[in-house]
């Protein structure tokens, strides 16, 4: 365990807490993306570049896009119901 590991673990703890505390879904999706990056950094600092790479592609491409698209659809449906 060195300084890099401690910084990475602290960043993950802060990032995870931030995702939970952020209550607005669109912002939450973006904060979750940043949290994913801190996780990737953690994996990388523990010499697991393969997992870090998976984490980056999932956290930056797959999850935020799917969440944002799903939110757009849900909001459109709500607008339709209001009309």
């Amino acid at each position: 365990m060195n300084v890099l590991h401690i910084v990475a673990l602290a960043a993950v703890a802060v990032g995870g807490t931030a995702v939970v505390l952020m209550r607005e879904p669109v912002r939450q999706a973006l904060v979750a993306g940043v949290f994913g990056f801190t996780l990737a950094f953690l994996f990388f600092s523990f010499q697991a570049p393969d997992v870090a790479l998976s984490q980056i592609v999932v956290a930056t491409v797959a999850v935020p896009l799917m969440v944002l698209l799903a939110l757009t659809k849900l909001r459109r449906d709500e607008e339709d119901d209001d009309r």
């Binding site: 697991a48 393969d50 790479l53 998976s54 592609v57 896009l65 799903a70 659809k73």
Partner: protein, 260 residues
């Protein structure tokens, strides 16, 4: 969120059966994690149990990246299951999202073929510039999985991102969507089938399913490690198709409904 909802959420968070249940579950989970980690050999121990696995993969299977050796050789069956999970997930989401398509299609016809709102110039320029490098990077990551960190899954998602960037850079709404969707479906199915065929190939050409029956080559060269490289590419194709399929289905929904 309204102020009323916020105070209600805060009140609920203060105490209540849900908080108690969450605290108990988290405490249990934390205890399990501590228990599991305490059994591990200290970080960086060269003589740990993983040492034998690495030796097998690097010297017997000629896979320089032992991680991918585990994924596509020693634990190839697990990966078969995982890629089928992704396949079924893509299938399920497209079945669910196409359920309401028929009514949308009517609206689409009514709206005629008029193009949607123009893509911002910045996005267009940025997207066009990035598509090429992203696709190259994706292909590199897929085909060099047995040598450097990466492999089929990671590279596949990068390739799907490149595809979506091409959508984003163009006038998405104006795109005729039927053709790409068919292509994406075929890609998804081809990758999944290729993996299964290589798995059966182990039975046909050797003694067991997923047996590494191809020539292993020299460690560190592009054409080495036998079926590990082939399976990595198959997963790359499948993941590209699956992720692109899920995202295009979601895009279709958003765009079609948004065109009223």
């Amino acid at each position: 969120m309204s102020a009323g909802a916020r105070t209600r959420a805060a009140a609920r968070a203060r105490l209540g059966p849900r908080t108690l249940l969450a605290a108990l579950a988290l405490a249990g989970l934390a205890a399990l994690v501590v228990w599991a980690v305490s059994e591990l050999t200290p970080f960086g121990t060269p003589s740990g149990p993983a040492n034998g696995v690495v030796k097998t993969l690097v010297f017997k299977r000629h896979a320089a990246n032992a991680v991918n050796g585990v994924t596509y050789d020693l634990r190839g069956l697990d990966t078969l299951g995982e890629e089928l999970i992704l396949f079924v997930a893509a299938l399920g989401s497209s079945v669910l999202l196409r359920h309401g398509r028929e009514s949308d299609e009517v609206e689409r016809k009514r709206a005629g073929n008029e193009p949607g709102p123009r893509t911002a110039d910045a996005l267009r320029a940025y997207g066009t510039a990035l598509v090429g490098p992203l696709v190259v990077l994706g292909v590199y990551v897929v085909t060099h999985g047995h040598l450097t960190p990466g492999g089929g899954f990671q590279g596949g998602v990068i390739l799907a991102a490149g595809l979506l960037l091409a959508y984003a850079a163009g006038q998405v709404v104006a795109l005729e969507r039927v053709e790409p969707t068919t292509l994406v479906e075929v890609t998804d199915a081809t990758g999944a089938m290729a993996y299964a065929l290589v798995a059966v190939g182990g039975l046909v050409f050797a003694s067991a399913a997923l047996y590494n029956f191809l020539p292993l080559g020299t460690t560190g060269q592009l054409l080495s490690s036998g079926t590990i490289l082939v399976l990595s590419c198959a997963v790359g194709v499948e993941v590209t198709g699956a992720v692109a399929l899920i995202l295009t289905e979601l895009l279709d929904q958003t765009l079609l409904v948004g065109r009223e």
